[in-house]
Each structure stands twice: as C-alpha cells, then as structure tokens.
C-alpha cells in the first residue's frame, strides 16, 4: 500500500515537472525558465538574464535592456526573498547592461556595508556590479565628458585579470575573460556546482555572432571563445541517452548544451574558412558578399534587417581576417 502511494506521488511529481520548470513571471513578455533547481533564465527583457539563487542572495549575469527592469525585479522577487547581491556584466551591450542601475539599487551589496552589527553583515549599498575594465571604460567617460550611461549603472568592481572568482550560495563562480571575441571586454561566467555556463553574446542562437570589430571583436577571438566553452562544457557521456551535462545560457535565444555549442562553433568556423578562402583568391568584400559565403546557415542565423545583418557579419570576418593578413605580411 505504501509503495503504491509512493509510486502515485512520484507520478504526480513527474507530471508536475513542466510546471516546476516554467515558473510564471506574471508577464507574458517576460518568460522565466528554470535551468536547474536553483538557477533560472529570464528571457524577453533584452538579452537573457541568468539568475542564481540561494541563502546568500541572488547573483545575476546581465540585466536586460532596462526597459522592463520593474518586471524583472518582480519576477526575481517571486523566485526568492533574498536580495540581489551581485550583477555580472558579460559585455557593455545595452541589451545586457541597460538594467544595471535599477537592479543594482533593488539589491544589497556584500561589500559596501556601512557597518556590521551583531547580526552579521548590515548590507545597505546597492548590489555590486562586476565586469572587465573594458566594460567600465565603454560605459563611463573621462571627467567633463558625457558618459553613455549614468554613473550608477557603471561597474563598481572591475578587473583586468584572466579570471575573477567568488564563492556564493555554496558554489564556485568563475568570470572568465575572453579577449577579442564579441568585443574586447567579454566574460563567460561558469557556475561550477550548478554546472551552468553563461555565455553572454559570444553565443546567440538567434543570429550569427555579433562581432563588434570597432570594439575589439575578431572572428578568431570569437572562435577561440567558443572553443573555450566547448572545453569547459561536459556532455552526458558515456550514458549519452540520459539527459544531463553542462547547460549553457546564451546571450539571446534558447538554453543549450555542449552539442548545440559544437554546432554553433562549427558553423562559425566553416564560414570563417569560406571567407578566408575567398580572400586568398583575391576577392573583394563586395564580391564575397555577392558570393553568399554563409550559404547553408543563412536561413537559420541570418538577417537582412535589424541591428546585426548577415552582411555585417561577413564584413566583420573580412575586416578582421584582412587586418590579420596585413599584420602578418
């Protein structure tokens, strides 16, 4: 009898799994997807927002464009009563940092406490915003100049090391600097116990990768960053048929695993090879564009309009490959 009841309860729990996996944000535009038990992805507020929860508070990777910050804060408060402690920006893109000021103010920093009473930390400052020095540089401006963002949106803790580590909510968190990929200030963030890797705009399942050449991005740096992520991510082997392995949150689009990452990395590498071959054959950028070097992938990742078109992607590859070629000669 007890076994039957147990089995019945197991069935009920199993049946309820999808509901657990998709907590309701209360807003049709903002979707909350559970990644692992203490980890969520918020989609629809600009770039994807990664949310790690636990007894120490909330760690966010990216905060969206800022247009829906109120709804983002409300959605996070539905997930946990704990305050936002850290915001990590993977780059300086508005889609990722636009909500910095609002979400930081909604949180409480560990490190900007004004005093520590008998109860422990009395954290009163806004949540810490962590990013590379390059992100701070792009968001701020020298004294007397107009900055692109108000100062309360700037990173409060910046770094230029290869990696920044912390341990929050009983897990190690690595912000890994990846030079010259999408831009010169990218980090990917690896949550070691949750086994979730947050890729930022190095990975965008809705588009070809956005390589901001004017901000230090290169095609080789992009491929190197994707290869680094492929190395970090572990697939479900040897029991391939079981669901599992490292999950990856892209800058935009759906949750991925290592196989999806490999598919994307191979796509970018193949297109790089095709453009490089065309350059070697003496073709101009105009001729290369006309030859459609993204054929085979354009329908899935390309765009003819918007802020990142197929033409811009091909031009970015061309520009960084020809710069490399010139510097080699």
């Amino acid at each position: 009898m007890n076994k039957s009841i147990g089995a019945f309860l197991a069935v009920l729990i199993l049946s309820a799994w999808p509901a657990l996996a998709q907590p309701d944000s209360g807003d049709p535009e903002l979707e909350v997807v559970q990644v692992v038990p203490n980890f969520y992805m918020l989609a629809g507020a600009g770039g994807n927002i990664a949310v790690q929860t636990g007894p120490d508070g909330v760690v966010l990777v990216n905060v969206g464009s800022g247009k829906m910050s109120g709804k983002v804060i409300a959605a996070i408060q539905k997930l946990t009563p704990q305050p936002i402690r850290y915001i990590i920006n993977t780059s300086a893109d508005r889609d990722n940092v636009g909500g910095n000021a609002a979400l930081s103010k909604a949180g409480q920093s560990f490190t900007q406490a004004t005093n520590a009473g008998p109860g422990g930390i009395a954290a009163v400052g806004p949540a810490t915003i962590l990013a590379t020095d390059m992100v701070l540089t792009r968001m701020s401006a020298p004294a007397g100049k107009q900055a692109p963002y108000p100062s309360d949106a700037w990173p409060t803790e910046s770094f230029s090391l290869k990696e920044k580590k912390m341990y929050v909510n009983q897990e190690g968190i690595q912000a890994i600097y990846q030079p010259a990929a999408h831009s010169d200030g990218d980090v990917m963030v690896f949550f070691r116990r949750s086994d979730v890797l947050v890729a930022g705009d190095i990975l965008d399942t809705t588009h070809f990768p956005k390589i901001e050449v004017d901000q230090g991005g290169t095609i080789q740096g992009e491929i190197d960053a994707l290869n680094r992520m492929v190395e970090i991510a572990i697939p479900s082997i040897p029991l391939v048929w079981q669901r599992g392995g490292t999950l990856i949150i892209p800058g935009h689009g759906r949750i991925c695993d290592q196989a999806d990452l490999v598919e994307y990395r191979d796509m970018v590498t193949v297109i790089r090879d095709v453009v490089r071959d065309m350059i070697r054959r003496g073709m101009t950028l105009q001729q290369i564009q006309a030859a459609n070097p993204t054929a085979g992938f354009r329908g899935r990742y390309g765009a003819d309009s918007g802020d990142w078109t197929t033409g811009m992607f091909v031009e970015a590859i061309y520009r960084t490959l020809t710069v490399t070629k010139s510097s080699r000669n």
């Binding site: 069935v11 391939v240 999806d260 490999v262 598919e263 590498t269």
Partner: protein
C-alpha cells in the same frame, strides 16, 4: 456524536468510497480500452530503402528529399570526416532516425500505478538514437527557450487505433546520412499503426529552415519477441583518433564547389546532376516522366546489384542490365 449523526456520516463515507471505486474503475477501463497495445520488439524489414538504411546513401544523393537551396549548400559542404571530431563521436541522430535507420526497436509503456493509465509510451533506442518518450498525459510542450535534446519532446494522442505523436525540441541533425541537414526548428508528426504483427510508422517531417514541403517516410517493422533489442543504446566514450581534429582548430568540410563526389551518381548511374541535387519535384512519380526520354541506363550494374548484403538474405532479384 449522536447515533443519527454517526449513521449519516458512515453513509456519506460509504457513498464516497463506492463512488470513488466506480469512477476509478470506469477511468481504468476507459484508459485500458482506448489504446492499441504497441508493446513488443519490432524488428526492421530492410526491404524499404535498403541502401539508405543499410550500406548508406551515395555521398551526394539528395534525390526524393524536398530540400531547399540552403540545405543543398550545406549538404555539399558535408564530409563524413566530421564524425571523427571527439565532440561529435557520441552524438545521436534525431528521433526521426527511427524510420531512417536500419535498426529495430523495443516499445513499452510506463503506467500510472493506481489507474493503469499509460503515462508514456517509450520507443527504445538504437545505437545512435535516443529513447523517444511519448507523453500521453496531456502535458504541454516546453518553452521555446527550453533546451533541445537528443530525444526531443514528444506528446501523443490516440486517433482510433492509430497513435499520433508530435515531436519538437529536437537537435539539429541530418535527414540523410550523407549530410542533408535538419535544423533544430524541425518538427515530426508520426503515426504508429499496428496491424497484427506488423507496425507501420508514417513520419511527416517539417523544417522551415531546410525543407520546402513536408518530407514523408513510412516504414514497417515486424513483431519479433526473440529480437533481444536493448531499450537503451550502448554507452559511448569519445577518443581523439585524428589529432588535428582534437581541440576545435579544424572542422572538416568541403569549400563551395569543391565536393569531389558531386558527379558520382551521374557517372555511376547516369542520373542527371539536376536530379541528384534533389528537391520536392524529385519526390513524386511524375518526375520520372521528365527523365524517361533522356535517360540511358548504364551498360551494367556496378554496385548493390543484389542488395547491399549481396542478395544472400532475401528474395531481391539481382539487377541485370537496365532493370
């Protein structure tokens, strides 16, 4: 409690119990009555597309697939060397490989232990395909932001004696083993039709990225209780067998216009290159009329003339000239 009240309470309790039993029994009977039993081991019958499913297709043979120009471009860049990459060695084909591949499969049901209702049908794995779970409990498909998996996400309903399933959230893969791509936006509608000891699966594949119209494939398997088919695939551990393919520096592919196999079908079978490149038109019987006046059969059959197994296992007549 007064005796009268106690009596009322007992009566109410008994009534509730009886109703619960009756409703439960009715539900159980309904659940059991609504399904054809698909459970069993279903062995393949290799008489359908035996070359594709067994020995494998020619490297550039896209005939009878409604692929578009994007798919064709990608297929022409494909080389099987890509499978040697450690990251790809253990990847499976998408769930529709159940009708593309050569293997049989085991089918079983997971039951609700109380009502006896089938919660899910399981279509067992092949060595390079995951177990397909067909959810029968009405659950919704996941968010568009949810991961795509090797088994996809499948729901099913009974339409008379036919189990109709719908699969989304598949990974990118291949419609044919020579590199004709399927995207992660592909979906599969399948009909499982049992007739005695035969099981026919008719699959309708749609892919907004790579197909111009649905790609429809049907396969029939035979009940074989002695097949000893495993429910799950074998474990897999990749090994870097080709040093230059380890580490992600090299992705094997053919550059545009450099596929060396592009005219192989034309040379070997005299099939025009335009036909070899496939497309929706090549799926239909009418297409033969377009070819017949210009087609000249080769002087002799040079490959698979008696089936890919050499004709030893069946009643396939060997191809003599022009057949």
């Amino acid at each position: 409690m007064q005796p009268k009240e106690l009596s009322k309470a007992v009566s109410a309790l008994v009534l509730t119990l009886v109703l619960t039993l009756l409703i439960g029994s009715a539900l159980t009977q309904a659940a059991l009555a609504q399904t054809m039993d698909l459970a069993g081991q279903w062995a393949p019958r290799a008489h359908q597309d035996y070359q594709d499913r067994g020995g494998g297709p020619d490297p550039v043979d896209y005939t009878a697939i409604p692929l578009n120009a994007e798919a064709r471009a990608r297929a022409l860049s494909y080389t099987a060397s890509i499978i040697s990459m450690p990251e790809r060695q253990c990847l499976y084909y998408p769930p529709f490989y159940v009708v593309l591949g050569p293997q049989g499969f085991k089918i079983w049901a997971d039951f609700d232990p109380v009502t006896g209702t089938v919660l899910a049908w399981k279509v067992g794995a092949a060595i390079d395909r995951a177990v397909i779970t067909v959810w029968m409990d009405g659950r919704p498909h996941p968010s568009k932001y949810a991961p795509h998996t090797l088994d996809g996400f499948t729901t099913g309903v009974w339409e008379g004696d036919v189990l109709t399933t719908y699969t989304t959230h598949m990974k990118a893969g291949y419609f044919r083993r020579n590199g004709v791509p399927s995207s992660d936006e592909a979906t599969m509608t399948a009909h499982f039709m049992r007739h005695g000891n035969s099981l026919t699966i008719s699959v309708h594949l749609e892919d907004p990225i790579y197909l111009t119209e649905p790609y429809v494939i049907s396969r029939t398997n035979q009940l074989d209780p002695a097949a000893n088919l495993p429910p799950t695939p074998a474990p897999c551990m990749p090994e870097p067998e080709v040093p230059r393919l380890a580490g992600g520096g090299v992705v094997p592919h053919f550059l545009p216009g450099k596929n060396p196999f592009v005219d192989e079908m034309t040379k070997r079978y005299h099939i025009p290159e335009e036909t070899v490149m496939g497309g929706a038109e090549t799926m239909y019987p009418e297409y033969r009329k377009k070819l017949k006046d210009n087609y000249v059969a080769p002087d002799k059959c040079v490959r698979y003339c008696c089936g890919w197994g050499g004709g030893s296992g069946g009643n396939l007549g060997c191809i003599v000239r022009g057949q």
